[in-house]
């Protein structure tokens, strides 16, 4: 019987690793019609005419649609619920975000015409015959440039391109501290734009049943129920009961598949139009152009310290590149998690100001960490820089500012409540496991080989299962069939993260159920009535809570039924080891048997919330080696000691750490989305130029654990999905700077590409 804390191999793996996964495209049976989208070749242009006659007549064409057709049908727009204001106090403008471009196109890849044909090839051929006349304008893709006077305007309704101004913390109190602070460290930091590049690109199959008036959408998503609500309420204006969303296996999500997309609505709408099942699958190039992208911030951060190095206050002005349109979640990453700039430290005052900026680029949206790595990057770079300016040891500086266990719970000046943790202990273990002190010898060895070596440390802390106020519930159904087998109907979504294995462990542990008699079902809104979904490191917190609460209710219900079955009084019943027993006798009945005898009576649906969000935290240490002749920077060692609370399955947590670290290191060392400044064209439009990390770019990661279970949920779990990325972003840059500082380098921005590192060394040589 597997228990909480066992490193049980993932039940999902055999299926997924032997090619038996079932992804969106695997449902195709060859009878579907195909949708191909004609996308904008310009970053900014007015559409003056669309001519489709030749294309309509092309072989196999079933329908060609433009925004005019959608508008005529009353098809709705994507909208965002964030209630943000502009700097002048007016409500922010919500640029019309339709399924196809309206009168203008606003980024390269903006979809303009949908072509539906018998085959994908025919749709591609027909799309080439569509003639769109554009009147193109100068675009702006960089958020800082977009704020310059005279910059091209993305939307006439947003003069100056500043969509909103969001403030967090206390400006007056913070500015007052800065005014009198003995030392202020300031940095201007750029956090690059990146994209998720899941192995399975976005794909969707839409069908409409004219007899029942029902729609079915099949697509890999993190949030099937939310997607259903958006598509039925906002876009198609149909009753939710007439739409079923099926999310099969998801071949990589990373936050990118947390948003609804135009193509998902288009296949449904087009299916009704052409009365055929309509399939769409993004090509790699389309994915690069049209998947919602991540990060892209320019941040001025400041840290105030007293003469002894005590942190007094932190403040920041951040510019977030939103892209041209506001997807439902676009305003989230640049604003929601800025509280992370407090780090694990005792800091009295803080103020952060975020300006959201429109540019001629695809929308940004959550991407693993969604603002958490960015915030941690700011505070940890500032701390490292302050140590350098004050000629203090960066570890000592952190240590003397860390919150201690007796200071918790602690409300930060940004409103987050750190409920528990032992930061000094995690830090000490991190230094120890990484052999921090052995660095000197390793540096000597590198130098003997003509290489530079740097060492860095970063302490990460991030909110999981948030937000701080208004964290969301999860739904869970547990059903017993006539054979006494258990079916878990999860409102969370399995996105390759092994949730099913974890739920089975929890239920085995709590109810004594046999893992092989439990099945977990998710990702089908008809089978699972209600759900929130998987994002923001929340699943073990939110869904885990729901599983445990459901289990408690089953025990409660079961006691009455067991008392009947065993002809005893309910107060004499106890539950242990998977069976109900009459206290003091050997009379017992197993839960499986009791369920089989009472068809359906033990089944239960719950929607439960944790007590509150949690704060996973960790100490990341890494070392890099740089070839000064070429600028090539190699990650040589990486160690993290993490407190993710109760570890349900250490193997899965390690896997999440590995993936999270790789994703963070990828951004620091090589990945970035680059647009041409003048034309707005995507320069990194394929894997020839967008550099994805490979396994051999990494050393073996050393992942340690120092768990302090939280009381915020019955499992004590804190969330592990984003933790690796949060720490990786700052620590790799800090280690690289450590290697370069002896050469006079004071600052470097990601990505630390060979040429950038080499150029930085040249500038400082001369």
């Amino acid at each position: 019987m597997s228990k909480i804390g066992d490193a049980v191999p993932r039940h999902e793996d055999y299926r997924l690793l032997t090619g038996q996964g079932s992804y969106t495209d695997d449902a195709l049976d060859g009878t579907e019609a195909w949708m191909v989208l004609l996308r904008s070749p310009y970053a900014s242009a007015t559409i003056t005419a669309i001519e489709t006659n030749d294309a309509q007549a092309a072989p196999g064409v079933l329908g060609i649609f433009t925004r005019a057709d959608l508008d005529a049908d009353g098809v709705g727009l994507f909208t965002t619920a964030f209630p943000f204001k502009r700097a002048d106090g007016e409500d922010m403008h919500r640029p019309p975000f339709g399924l196809l471009a309206g009168g203008s196109v606003n980024y390269v890849g903006d979809p303009v015409v949908a072509v539906i044909a018998e085959t994908r090839l025919q749709a591609e051929d027909a799309a080439e015959l569509v003639v769109v006349d554009y009147d193109d304008r100068a675009p702006v893709t960089d958020a800082v440039n977009a704020l310059e006077p005279g910059a091209p305007q993305v939307w006439p309704e947003v003069p100056g391109n500043a969509a909103f101004l969001v403030e967090r913390g206390d400006k007056e109190a913070t500015d007052a501290v800065f005014e009198n602070a003995p030392h202020v460290t300031a940095l201007d930091l750029r956090i690059t734009r990146v994209t998720a590049n899941p192995i399975e690109p976005r794909a969707a199959i839409g069908s409409y049943d004219a007899e029942t008036g029902h729609f079915v959408l099949r697509t890999g998503t993190q949030t099937p129920h939310r997607l259903l609500a958006t598509l039925s309420d906002d876009i198609l204006h149909i009753t939710p009961e007439t739409l079923r969303v099926i999310s099969p296996d998801v071949g990589g999500a990373f936050g990118m598949k947390n948003s609804p997309y135009p193509e998902y609505a288009l296949v449904l709408w087009a299916s009704q139009k052409v009365r055929r099942v309509v399939a769409w699958r993004s090509s790699r190039i389309e994915a690069m152009q049209s998947d919602f992208q991540g990060r892209d911030n320019v941040i001025h951060g400041e840290l105030a310290l007293d003469a002894d190095g005590r942190f007094l206050a932190v403040r920041a002005k951040s510019i977030g590149n939103l892209g041209a349109y506001l997807g439902p979640l676009t305003p989230h990453p640049s604003t929601a998690n800025v509280g992370g700039m407090i780090g694990p430290y005792s800091i009295g005052a803080a103020h952060v100001e975020v300006t959201g900026v429109h540019t001629n680029t695809p929308p940004t949206a959550p991407y693993r960490g969604a603002g958490r790595p960015e915030a941690t990057y700011v505070i940890e770079r500032l701390v490292d820089q302050a140590a350098c300016e004050l000629d203090m040891d960066a570890v000592d500086l952190r240590r003397c500012n860390l919150l201690t266990p007796d200071q918790l719970p602690h409300q930060t000046p940004m409103g987050m409540v750190y409920d528990c943790g032992d930061f000094p202990c995690v830090l000490a273990q991190g230094l120890d496991e990484s052999d921090w002190d052995g660095f000197g010898a390793r540096r000597k060895q590198s130098e003997a080989n003509g290489l530079l070596r740097g060492r860095g440390m970063a302490y990460s802390i991030e909110i999981a299962g948030g937000p701080q106020s208004g964290h969301m519930p999860e739904s869970m159904g547990i059903q017993f069939d006539a054979g006494g087998n258990v079916h878990v109907l999860a409102g969370s979504m399995e996105i390759g993260t092994g949730h099913a294995t974890a739920y089975k462990q929890i239920l085995s542990d709590q109810l004594g159920l046999k893992a092989e008699r439990i099945s977990v079902i998710c990702g089908d809104t008809r089978l699972v009535a209600q759900g929130t979904g998987s994002f923001g490191s929340r699943t073990m917190i939110a869904a885990g809570t729901a599983v445990v609460r459901a289990g408690e209710r089953i025990i409660e219900k079961g006691k009455a039924l067991a008392a009947d079955a065993l002809e005893a009084a309910e107060i004499d019943m106890e539950f242990s080891g998977g069976a109900f027993r009459v206290v003091g006798t050997d009379k017992a009945i197993s839960l499986h048997d009791l369920a089989a005898q009472n068809d359906g009576a033990l089944s239960i649906n719950v929607t439960e919330k944790a007590e509150g969000p949690t704060y996973p935290n960790g100490c990341h240490v890494c070392e890099v080696e740089i070839d000064p002749d070429t600028g090539v920077t190699l990650l040589d060692r990486y160690c993290v000691v993490d407190d993710v609370g109760t570890v349900i399955n250490p193997m899965i947590v390690k896997g999440q750490m590995h993936g999270g670290i790789a994703q963070g290191v990828g951004q620091v060392l090589m990945e970035y989305i680059k647009f041409d400044d003048d034309s707005g064209q995507l320069v990194t439009g394929s894997f020839l130029d967008y550099c994805m990390p490979r396994a051999n770019d990494f050393p073996l990661f050393d992942v340690g654990s120092c768990p302090v279970p939280t009381a915020m949920n019955p499992l004590g779990a804190k969330g592990a999905g984003e933790a690796g990325t949060v720490g990786a972003l700052p620590v790799v840059v800090i280690a690289t700077l450590d290697a370069l500082r002896p050469y006079g380098v004071k600052h470097i921005d990601m990505p630390l590409t060979p040429e950038r590192v080499w150029q930085t060394l040249q500038i400082n040589k001369s």
């Binding site: 090839l121 591609e124 080439e128 190039i285 002749d629 070429t630 090589m670 680059k674 320069v683 990194t684 894997f687 020839l688 130029d689 967008y690 550099c691 994805m692 590409t753 060979p754 040429e755 080499w758 150029q759």
Partner: protein
Amino acid sequence: MYAFEYRKAASTEDAESGFTAADDASFLAGGMTILPTLKQRLAQPSDLIDLSGIESLSGISVEGGTVTIGAMTCHADVAASADVQSAIPALAALANLIGDPQVRNRGTIGGSIANNDPAADYPGAVVGLNATVHTTKREIAADDFFIGLFETALDEGELITKVVFPVPEKAAYRKFPNPASRYAIVGAFVAKTSDGIRVAITGAGPTVFRVTEMEADLSESFSADAIKDIAIPQDDLNSDLHASAEYRAHLIGVMASRAVGDCS
């Protein structure tokens, strides 16, 4: 991808006559370049003439101080060949640096040099070793073969049959890969041959080129030090997202010095 006729040639004559008969044919070797081009609708040949059935085009032989590699020999076979490894280890090592295992098992030396991608590796070895390219019509010296960006001395429909490499005294190849594609940003092939020292640089310019100044200095004294002060003019070098002309010029020096070091 646009529709095209597919033909599998049985012999070089068959391939050539198929080519002449068609409107606008292309040869298909490993397909590692041409297939992605077709998929992106960047080319529209009327016919693809598949060379994979022509046995005489594949294979490796070493004799009389030369290594001969058939045009259809894939990179993985060159990399794994014990004969190449012992005769010209630098050539086997170069083949092993191309792309990834899938690419090495499909891509061919004939396709690579016919395509003459400025970032391809093989042109470095062909020029660095002063190889001879054999076609169905003639023999072309390495120095005459690579003309410019994606341009070679091949005529329309002229088929490469093999490449003959003289075995050098010593040779080494150093590659600075593009971090994304792993093609060469700068590849330096240095060889000590009976005809003298050759330094061929691929990746850095529109096509492979020799650095005669380095060759002259290395002939005086074959050491990394001898070329460390040679400044490479940036004017004709490529400049892109991954490497400016300035950086490429610098890397030529670094990679060539390291290759010289490997030879000693």
